[in-house]
């Protein structure tokens, strides 16, 4: 039949279409489709037929795209797919007046397809191109309808069980219409629709509004009793099946369940609990819901738990359920995930909640920490920083021990490995807390800006230290079973380097103190606390591996700095306490490490002599030019302020004594040998610090003439340095007491002796009463007493000390030269002179080291000459000598 030859009453198109449709196949589909579309435009009356044909095309296309595994290859080849892609844009763009025809057609077609293909998985169906196109057309045309028609269309779709996905999809255009309607359906259908709807993010808001509307509606006083009875169980049932509904209900739950709403809800519960609809609202169901809710729900539950018995029971049930669920390692519980996400709120609540909240949240935190080690670390860090009372610290202990011991069977082989791992977390937690506390101290705080700083405001670091101290005290008391493994102690020990660093930083005078931060507060309380932390941990290595050299050095440096800061404190008790702590620390560190001791001694002395008291050390020139170019001989450049006193600074001051105490503390740890050893290094250090170069620092004393010619310049300098530094002299005194350490400071003694000889010889009797003379005499007294103490001058030379004040300058010169210098020159002051007895003490036996007469004759002659005045000394010095002779 040739359409051309046929007598056409209406149009060729129409005939073609009718003829084509009656013998439809895949080949002519695109052509027929185009004809259909033109018919649609020119013969609107034919729309029913055309649309019916299009529906067939869609069915074909859906079949094709579902069955074809790899249909991309022949997308163009298949007529129905091609036709569908032609139809799509055309039907979308027909306009408003067509929408009332197109939209119902689309919807019934979707329902048709969905019903026919209900065996095909939804996703396959949804992803089929023709369905996509169809959904697009539907959406497009729905938006063109007025609201009444639209609602009708959506109702039409909701009526079908098979196409909830389509409702969800199409509903994205009109979520505000779909969501409330979907909620009128049964729970299963509503769940499906809402799930599809929520794939489209903007729609979630409407779902939420719809759900909440329904909820509030049910709670209204004037709502119908059956609504009151049914809605809440329905919503809970729906929530148990649909994450979206649950999320909609629980999002911002504080705003939803205000106190007023709660009150009404309780009223409804009480009145309806008995009804059949409420039978499903069992605690078990609620707990199952809560497990999937977010942590804010839990917080709300906690808030009400105190006043509401049911909430309290529910809470306990929930916690037990959670703990049980956590036994299965690969189970993700949304509540815990949410708690981890919002852990800051949880922790804040842990700090300021009531008792019940605190304990419950601690249990939650244990579970979170168990699942997420990072949260474990951060929780420890947080609580160490912000805990302000014992109960919170106790919770921290509980969380730590709870997390570590949770579900580890006591006979598990990897228990040690596991605890080791957790110990590492604790360590990291402490580390983070320290770091964060120090960072927080440098943050600008509001209270500084508005001037409302409390009087006893403590730095964050201080609080951290106080918490650590408290924990360490508990740990050391051995009365807390949870802390038997010393988790905190070990963690602090592992962080010694950082704590030492913190102490060093806070004691530093050069520390930057930013305005309006905690750093601008007085740092000493923090330093005391830090020192106490250090004081409380074990560094001996008996309970844990000994600290590394690096750590020791850090702690030593910090402690020395702290010591000197304490020396400068005004308040006496605080000062003494601080110094005592520092000494204790030094003793502890030096006791276990020789390196530490050396470092401590050097630091202390250097600090005291060079940085602390005296000015900078002068480097003597290495050339032949002289340093005597200006100022006072032996004193260097005249001080600008002119207070050029000739007084030698006294040795016996509090600070000096405290410093000596510190020095001693470094040495005393292993008895006398330690003391000697320490004193020896002190001597060496003194030489090193006072003497400008290493030449001529040997033990032997040369000929006196040699000094005059060669080394007098440096000896003058050395004596000046020594004299102006009370610390050095005091230290020398200590070294003398710890025989034979003084020997090693022989260079210093020699310098004093040489300069005394030189000066006294120069003054002779001219300046008997002058200040210079008095100073020289004082220096002489000190030299003699030191050497006597160090047993470098044996009896009777040791009595020069008593003799000296009575002698004239020339006599002193004689005595110094003949008795002191010559004796020492011939008996080199070396440790070899001292013998070690059975108790470990070094000493020179007076009986074996009597000086020969050549060294004592000068003394004897002088005494004899001035027997009237000095006679009382003669028997002491020489009588026994005589006897033996």
């Amino acid at each position: 039949m040739n359409p051309q030859s046929k007598s056409t009453a209406l149009s060729v198109d129409l005939n073609n279409f009718i003829y084509g449709v009656s013998r439809r196949n895949t080949q002519n589909a695109p052509e027929l489709t185009r004809t259909g579309l033109s018919l649609l435009k020119n013969f609107p009356a034919a729309r029913d037929a055309v649309l019916e044909y299009f529906a067939m095309v869609f069915h074909d296309a859906v079949n094709v795209s579902i069955t074809q595994t790899d249909y991309e290859t022949d997308l163009g080849a298949n007529g129905s797919l091609e036709s569908v892609s032609i139809i799509g844009p055309e039907l979308c763009s027909l306009g408003q007046s067509w929408a009332p025809f197109i939209a119902p057609w689309c919807i019934s077609l979707i329902m048709d397809i969905a019903t026919k293909k209900s065996s095909v998985p939804n996703t396959t169906l949804q992803n089929a191109d023709p369905v996509r196109i169809l959904l697009d057309i539907t959406t497009q045309n729905l938006t063109l309808l007025n609201s009444e028609e639209r609602a009708k269309c959506i109702d039409m779709m909701l009526g079908s069980w098979a196409c909830s996905w389509a409702v969800g999809w199409v509903g994205r255009a009109e979520p505000a219409l779909v969501a409330p309607r979907a909620l009128q359906l049964g729970a299963d259908a509503a769940r499906a629709v809402l799930a599809h709807l929520a794939n489209h993010p903007p729609a979630t808001h409407h779902v939420r509004v719809a759900v909440l509307d329904l909820f509030h509606e049910a709670l209204r006083d004037d709502s119908k009793p059956e609504k009151k009875r049914d809605v809440i169980p329905y919503l809970l049932n729906l929530a148990s099946k649909s994450d979206i509904v649950l999320k909609a209900l629980t999002q911002d739950i504080e705003q939803t369940l205000t106190d007023e709403v709660m009150e009404r809800l309780c009223g409804v519960c009480v009145s309806q609990r008995g009804s059949a609809a409420w039978a499903e609202v069992s605690p078990a169901a609620l707990v199952a819901l809560l497990l999937r809710a977010d942590v804010r729900c839990l917080l709300l539950l906690l808030r009400h738990a105190l006043s509401n018995l049911f909430c309290r029971q529910l809470l306990e049930y929930l916690l037990q359920k959670l703990e049980y669920e956590c036994l299965f390692p690969d189970k993700n519980i949304p509540l815990l995930m949410s708690a981890a996400e919002e852990i800051n709120i949880v922790r804040d609540k842990l700090l300021d909640g009531n008792q019940l909240e605190k304990y419950s949240l601690a249990r939650i935190l244990i579970l979170v920490s168990y699942n997420l080690p990072s949260e474990f670390v951060s929780t420890i860090s947080y609580l160490l920083q912000y805990s302000r009372d014992d109960s919170t610290l106790a919770l921290l202990v509980r969380i730590i021990s709870g997390t570590i011991t949770m579900h580890v069977p006591s006979d598990s082989p990897d228990i040690s490995m596991d605890t080791e791992r957790y110990q590492n977390f604790v360590k990291t937690g402490v580390e983070y807390a320290l770091r964060d506390a120090m960072l927080s101290d440098n943050e600008i705080k509001m209270c500084f800006l508005d001037g409302s700083v409390p009087k006893d405001q403590k730095t964050y670091l201080h609080h951290f230290c106080l918490n650590i101290i408290k924990l360490l005290r508990w740990e050391n008391s051995n009365r807390v079973p949870h802390l038997r493994t010393r988790p905190i102690g070990r963690a602090v020990e592992a962080n010694l380097y950082r704590i030492g660093g913190a102490l060093q930083e806070y004691t530093s005078l050069l520390r930057i103190r930013k305005e309006c931060t905690m750093a601008s507060l007085d740092e000493m309380p923090t330093c005391h606390a830090l020192a106490e932390v250090l004081d409380r941990v074990d560094m001996t290595g008996t309970k844990a591996p000994p600290p590394s050299v690096e750590v020791i050095l850090k702690v030593v440096q910090a402690t020395v700095k702290y010591f000197f800061r304490c020396l400068h404190l005004k308040e006496l008790m605080e000062k003494l306490r601080g110094v005592a702590t520092a000494c204790r620390l030094l003793r502890k560190v030096c006791g276990c490490s020789k390196v530490g001791r050396a470092a401590a001694l050097r630091d202390l002395l250097e600090h005291a002599m060079l940085r602390h008291d005296a000015g900078p050390i002068t480097q003597l020139t290495q050339s032949h030019t002289s340093v005597f170019h200006a100022g006072i001989i032996g004193k260097g450049v005249r001080k600008p302020n002119g207070s050029d006193s000739n007084e030698i600074p006294p040795i016996l001051t509090t600070n000096n004594e405290l410093l000596m105490g510190a020095l001693t503390a470094c040495m005393v740890s292993d008895g006398n040998s330690g003391l000697v050893e320490g004193a020896t290094s002190v001597s060496l250090l003194l030489v090193e610090l006072v003497s400008p170069d290493v030449m001529y620092n040997g033990l032997p004393w040369p000929d006196e003439d040699f000094t005059k010619q060669v080394s007098i310049e440096r000896e003058l300098y050395m004596r000046g340095a020594l004299e102006s530094c009370a610390v050095a002299r005091a230290a020398l005194r200590r070294a003398a007491a710890a025989r034979p350490a003084l020997c090693l400071a022989s260079a210093l003694l020699r310098a004093t002796a040489a300069t005394l000889l030189h000066r006294l010889r120069a003054y002779l009797d001219r300046h008997t009463q002058s200040a210079e003379m008095a100073k020289e005499r004082a220096a002489l007294t000190e030299l003699l007493s030191t050497m006597t103490l160090g047993q470098l001058l044996p009896h009777p030379l040791s009595h020069m000390l008593e003799l000296a004040p009575e002698l004239t300058a020339s006599e002193i010169v004689q005595v110094l030269r003949d008795c002191l210098w010559n004796y020492t020159r011939d008996h080199v002051p070396s440790p070899a002179l001292f013998t070690c007895d059975s108790t470990g003490l070094h000493w020179r036996d007076p009986s074996t080291c009597k000086p020969p007469a050549t060294y004592t004759d000068t003394l004897r002659l002088i005494i004899q000459k001035r027997i009237s005045k000095l006679g009382h000394l003669y028997p002491i010095m020489f009588l026994n000598l005589e006897k033996e002779n």
Partner: protein, 406 residues
């Protein structure tokens, strides 16, 4: 040929073909020298029901499904073919009326609506003429007619708006259909006698087409009356109602309902002109000439067309048939209600230009109609009704003049 043989022979065919064949058989049955007997009519109806519309099966049991839209289309195509091929006007109308003349079947009415709409689309004169006859026989204001007209309007003035030219030419090819169509349309719009709640106004493109029809073709309105339908023997021809009275209603009431201010919105914004030397003038002229008429301007034009048509409606012999006096008198309560509203708002009847405009148009129409002898019915009643209208100089003169002549 007996009935069973007839049916038997038809049953050999599948659906589209059997309808085609059935139409021929029906023609044979109904068209003859004498009027068909009742038995023949029954057989014809039976065949129509079973083989054309497939409403019942061979045991005359009603079939639920009926035809699918595609089959509808096929059937319509066949009917169109048949009607176009039919040379005898009477035969065509006979078959057509027996197909669709029944009042009861909604499905047939639906098919008829599609058929009419398709015929309009294709400007198929034979079909349109047949539909015109059907409209007239059913009565232009019957519910079936109105439904059909509504369908046509929706299809051609809402869904497909690109065929105005083809529509305008219908007035020349199928004037009887157009005339009846307009009569039915005037029943659909602005026909609320109360006039208080806002009346449905015809869409602008429909108004435009009707204006074009009436304005360009003064005899159109009378065409249904001038060309009596070729009806089957024995049937009673129904009097054709001209659309003039309805159109007078439209034109008279238009000033009352149409807001001139809202009109302005319809004027398209002249798009931004790029200034080009010498071109600005021409484009200016163009915009003026191509400016579409506003709705009220359409009504003015339509009014003029109606007046022309009234003049053409004068009949050389026989009583006037164009306008029913009662129909015109029905305007009075609507206008009075409006005037009442004006007074309630505190306006003055004399200065309300909308009202005066309306009264002027009534006066013009009545005068032309009366002067040309187009009015039938009780004219004095009409004049009495007009007398109750608010004061208007033209109207007063007209009433006076005609009351004197009576």
């Amino acid at each position: 040929m007996s009935v069973s043989d007839l049916k038997h022979s038809l049953r050999k065919y599948e659906f589209p073909a059997c309808a085609k064949e059935a139409l021929n058989r029906i023609e044979q049955l109904l068209v003859g020298r004498a009027a068909p007997s009742n038995k023949q009519l029954d057989i014809a109806m039976d065949i129509i029901s079973e083989f054309v519309f497939c409403e019942s099966d061979r045991r005359s049991v009603r079939r639920g499904g009926g035809l699918t839209p595609l089959q509808d289309l096929q059937l319509i195509d066949i009917i169109c073919d048949y009607l176009s091929a039919c040379t005898n006007e009477t035969t065509k109308n006979t078959v057509f009326l027996s197909l669709f003349g029944g009042m009861e079947s909604q499905r047939r009415l639906k098919i008829l609506s599609i058929l009419a709409s398709m015929a309009v689309s294709a400007s198929s004169t034979p079909v349109l003429l047949a539909v015109g006859v059907w409209l007239q026989q059913m009565g232009c204001s019957s519910s079936q007619s109105l439904e059909l007209v509504e369908n046509v309007i929706r299809d051609h003035f809402y869904l497909n708006t690109s065929n105005q030219l083809a529509l305008k030419s219908l007035a020349n090819t199928a004037p009887q259909f157009v005339s009846n169509f307009i009569t039915a349309v005037t029943e659909l719009y602005m026909h609320d006698a109360q006039g208080t709640n806002d009346n449905k106004l015809p869409p602008k493109n429909l108004l435009e087409v009707i204006t074009a029809w009436v304005y360009s073709n003064p005899t159109l309105c009378m065409s249904a009356q001038l060309n009596p339908a070729a009806l089957p023997s024995g049937s009673i021809p129904m009097a054709a109602v001209t659309p003039l009275a309805g159109l007078i209603h439209w034109c008279a009431l238009a000033p009352l309902y149409i807001d001139d201010d809202t009109e302005m919105v319809d004027v398209p914004v002249p798009f931004k002109k790029i200034k080009l030397e010498g071109e600005s003038d021409r484009s200016l002229i163009k915009t003026v000439t191509s400016k579409p008429l506003t709705e009220s301007e359409f009504y003015i034009k339509l009014h003029l067309g109606v007046l022309h048509s009234l003049r053409a409606g004068r009949r050389t012999h026989g009583p006037p048939t164009a306008v029913n006096a009662q129909h015109l008198a029905a305007l009075a309560p609507v206008v009075q209600a409006y005037a009442h509203n004006v007074l309630k708002r505190g306006g003055k009847l004399q200065s309300d230009h909308k009202l005066q405009d309306c009264l002027d148009r009534i006066g013009q129409a009545v005068q032309v109609a009366l002067a040309n002898g187009c009015v039938y019915g009780n004219i004095s009643n009409l004049l009495a009704a007009l007398d109750t209208l608010p004061e208007n100089r033209l109207l007063r003169i007209i009433i006076k003049t005609h009351q004197q002549t009576m």
